[in-house]
């Protein structure tokens, strides 16, 4: 079930909010709805999730209570069990067909990829490692850990929440009106990012990437890649915002996941702004344990390549994802080797341009079905090779007026500009008008937020009701 579906938005969510507001035992309610959420989308694969919870509860307690010399063993066992599940469900087909080249296996026998397995596996690993490092105590009850791993807002597409972040909130939290208000704001903004921006851009990107190379012109290749660049950002940031919003509504504070990544001036900065919960996970649980940058440049470069190769594979079980990860690793290494110093001497605009283009070319690799498609697509973007044929569609054949409008607005929305403008023009003026009419600023702000939330929800409902194509990209990770 996706957040932007009719089933979730108009049935599941109201029922959950109603129960959560009126009944006690909110953890039990949240857990019951989380199980229902997963069963609704994945059926009996909920058993994989429950097995993961059970393994991690057992391993966490074993690590917590074991004598020092056995703690590492229990941690290793826990990590192996989690990775075994991930390997089997996510990488089995890749290993068999692509790595080992065994053609004898019937592709129909490749296991189904349970929704969100990469996310809940990483959350589980963070739990075990935090317990091992004594950054967190083992979960006091199975239901606490189950709720941490299975909580539906962040179960299938993040953000990746550390156990230490929510351990206290699981036991003791107060749900204030300001939490709910901000939560609903986050949720509606996230929904709008997904439904209005990502889905409109998805239609453009899908149409362009579906074209055979001989029908792909340079203008269209740029249009498609830029559309995909927006799609993946708004899709994922939108989902994260919805998850953070729902978390707040439930009284949980999840970490922010995106901080305007496309305003970065280097790839190093990009990874500090993009999918922050994943990059910090890799930093804390892989890069630093590998030695980070403490053992000289060569070891640092090796560590970066290892981390980004795994980061690429985390996104998907295919060579193109691995190449995408290595491409980013290479850029980070090159920046460390001296490019960053060169960039620092360039005008700001040039630095932005460098970062945007580097990310954009990476997204082509990420989106392409094969290296050959990526090569042809990039060649067309760079005007290399043969001209496109007479059958090349014009941009207007692919991009509607609506998509243009959201594309342009999306560029603004991907920067802090739109937020600053709306704050300056809308919020400040409304508050001033409210003061003139004798309203307290708090009341005016609440009314403004309420109108904004309702307005966005109604607008999104128009699109959702029209049954537009609306898959979440990050669900496959």
């Amino acid at each position: 079930m996706v957040f932007s579906s009719v089933s979730f938005l108009y049935f599941f969510l109201p029922a959950f909010l109603l129960c959560y507001a009126l009944l006690p035992w909110r953890n039990a309610i949240a857990l019951a709805f989380s199980v229902l959420f997963y069963v609704w989308g994945e059926g009996l694969f909920v058993l994989v999730l429950l097995l993961s919870v059970l393994i991690n509860f057992t391993a966490g307690h074993a690590i917590g209570s074991a004598p020092p010399e056995r703690r590492r063993l229990w941690l290793t066992l826990g990590i192996v069990a989690n990775l075994a599940l991930l390997l089997y469900f996510k990488y089995f087909g890749f290993l068999v067909f692509d790595v080992l080249g065994w053609e004898a296996l019937d592709p129909a026998r490749v296991p189904h990829l349970p929704l969100g397995i990469s996310f809940f596996t990483f959350q589980s690993l963070s739990y075990l490692i935090d317990v091992y490092r004594r950054d967190a105590k083992p979960a006091r009850s199975l239901s606490d850990l189950a709720l941490y791993i299975m909580m539906f807002p962040q179960l299938v597409a993040g953000p990746i929440v550390r156990y230490a972040t929510v351990a206290r909130q699981l036991r003791r939290r107060v749900i204030h009106a300001s939490y709910v208000r901000h939560g609903l704001l986050f949720f509606s903004v996230g929904l709008a990012q997904k439904v209005l921006f990502a889905d409109n851009m998805a239609a453009v990107a899908d149409a362009v990437f579906a074209l055979p190379s001989e029908r792909l012109g340079t203008g269209l290749a740029w249009t498609g890649s830029l559309a995909y660049m927006q799609q993946i950002y708004f899709d994922f940031a939108g989902y994260s915002n919805m998850a953070i919003g729902l978390g707040l509504v439930m009284g949980f504070k999840f970490p922010h996941n995106f901080n305007y990544p496309y305003i970065s001036q280097s790839i190093t900065e990009f990874w500090r702004r993009w999918h922050m919960s994943l990059s910090s996970w890799f930093r804390d649980y892989l890069y630093i344990p590998l030695g980070g940058n403490r053992h000289g440049p060569l070891a640092t470069y090796r560590n970066l390549f290892v981390v980004f190769a795994l980061c690429g594979l985390w996104h998907g079980a295919s060579w193109t994802f691995l190449a995408w990860g290595l491409y980013h690793g290479l850029l980070l290494v090159v920046e460390r080797m001296g490019l960053k110093a060169v960039l620092a001497r360039l005008p700001r605009l040039a630095r932005h341009l460098y970062a945007l283009l580097a990310v954009l070319f990476g997204w082509v690799l990420f989106r392409a079905e094969s290296f050959e498609q990526a090569r042809l697509f990039l060649a067309r973007m760079l005007w290399i090779g043969q001209d496109s044929g007479p059958e090349t569609p014009g941009i207007a054949e692919i991009v509607s007026h609506q998509q243009w409008a959201f594309g342009v607005l999306g560029i603004l929305a991907a920067t802090p500009l739109l937020r600053r403008l709306s704050t300056r023009i809308l919020t400040d003026r409304t508050l001033a008008a409210g003061r003139r009419h004798g309203f307290k600023p708090g009341v005016t702000a609440a009314l403004l937020d309420g109108s904004f939330i309702v307005g966005l929800l109604v607008l999104c409902s128009l699109y959702i009701a029209s049954g537009t194509y609306s898959p979440f990209i990050y669900f496959r990770f």
Partner: protein, 400 residues
């Protein structure tokens, strides 16, 4: 877990309940939703509620089926959908349906009947290659039909209505592929197979008219073809009717000089656009002829043509002639009938687009035999006329 984990303030509780109520409105509205209306509007049967115990191998599972059921039954779907379509149409100037193309300044073209085949209506008309290759078969079908009815003593005319893509090819939007736009621009110079049909009919003493040149000559007259519909109406429909009248020996001057006025008519694109709207059109006042229309008359038509929807009869108190006529047509027939009616004491039009092959013989004997007609017009638009000939030959004459 038997404890109240997570205290909640009353304000927060109120906000949660308000949001639950707001988001739950579509679920509540389900109680008052007219499912039959939605099924009719969307032209498909709505998904049934899935039995939880369904374990059939072909079953997709309970929850996917439940999603389908919710998608098909949630309340407020129709108003939200209409609002969305209006926003696309008026706000973004985009077509809300793949079946329509919105030209520059909102000029509407029919793109396709079947969304799975985009631009089919344009290619069918403007790409004359496939038609030319099968011209003989198509032509023989029409000439056979015309001959059959002419031999039965009816003054028979095939009127082919020129449509927007070839009358206004220069206004086709850039969303239509360049090659198709070029083909439509070059259509008149081609020369189109429909012109061959006119000539071939003439040599066999049969009547086929295709007034494309006349339409092009008048295309820039104010509101000649309505901007907001792909069907003709107003002046273009009247010009077409005049052409047909000349062909059966009736002087069209009386209707040509009838007073005109600017009016708004109900657009007939409701099913495609998803909402109702009124469009600007030039209307003619045929009050002097004392013309009255009875829709869906004669009612016996539905007994031999089950899916008949678009038919009716004009009775004229002061007609130009005392003759009677029948129009068998596609959707352009009703527009033609309105302007042809003053020429006849009685004129019936029937849109035969949905007539099934097996209904053909019964339709000919039990229905058409009971409708008085001295003149018979077949009216089809140029995008489908040739194919319609083959279809009607099979339906009426039982031959290919």
């Amino acid at each position: 877990m038997a404890r109240a984990d997570g205290r909640i303030s009353n304000k927060a509780r109120g906000l949660l309940l308000a949001m639950a109520l707001f988001l739950g409105l579509p679920a509540l509205a389900m109680l008052w939703t007219d499912d039959a209306k939605r099924a009719d509007w969307e032209n498909h049967p709505l998904a049934p509620f899935p039995p939880p115990w369904d374990r059939a191998p072909e079953s997709a599972g309970f929850f996917p089926a439940l999603d389908d059921w919710i998608d098909d039954h949630f309340g407020l779907a129709l108003p939200l959908n209409r609002l969305h379509r209006r926003m696309l149409f008026y706000g973004f100037r985009d077509s809300p349906s793949p079946q329509l193309s919105l030209g520059r300044d909102g000029f509407v073209y029919l793109n396709t009947h079947d969304a799975r085949h985009p631009n089919a209506a344009f290619t069918r008309l403007c790409d004359t290659g496939p038609v030319n290759r099968e011209y003989d078969r198509f032509a023989q079908a029409w000439l056979g039909i015309l001959e059959h009815f002419q031999d039965a003593g009816l003054r028979t005319v095939l009127g082919i209505a020129p449509t927007k893509p070839v009358v206004y090819p220069d206004r086709l939007p850039n969303s239509v592929p360049r090659a198709i736009r070029a083909a439509c621009l070059g259509y008149r110079q081609a020369p189109p197979p429909l012109r061959r049909l006119v000539e071939d009919a003439k040599t066999r003493g049969l009547r086929v008219v295709y007034p494309l040149d006349a339409f092009v000559a008048h295309r820039d007259d104010d509101n000649f073809y309505p901007r907001e519909s792909f069907h003709f109406s107003g002046q273009s429909a009247q010009l077409f009717a005049q052409t047909l009248m000349r062909e059966v020996g009736i002087d069209p001057q009386p209707i040509a000089i009838a007073p005109r006025y600017e009016g708004r008519i109900k657009a007939d694109l409701q099913k495609i656009l998803g909402f109702n709207r009124r469009i600007r059109s030039t209307q003619t006042d045929y009050g002097a002829f004392d013309t009255r229309v009875a829709y869906r008359q004669p009612d016996f038509v539905t007994t031999c043509y089950q899916r008949a929807l678009d038919f009716g009869t004009y009775e004229t108190g002061a007609p130009i002639t005392e003759r009677t006529a029948l129009i068998l047509s596609d959707s352009f027939g009703a527009f033609t009938a309105a302007h042809l009616a003053p020429a006849y004491r009685r004129l019936t039009w029937i849109n035969v687009s949905d007539l099934r092959d097996e209904e053909g013989p019964g339709f000919l004997t039990d229905c058409l035999g009971r409708i008085p007609a001295q003149d018979l017009f077949f009216v089809f638009h140029d995008g489908g006329a040739l194919w319609d000939g083959g279809r009607l030959q099979q339906t009426f004459l039982g031959t290919h």
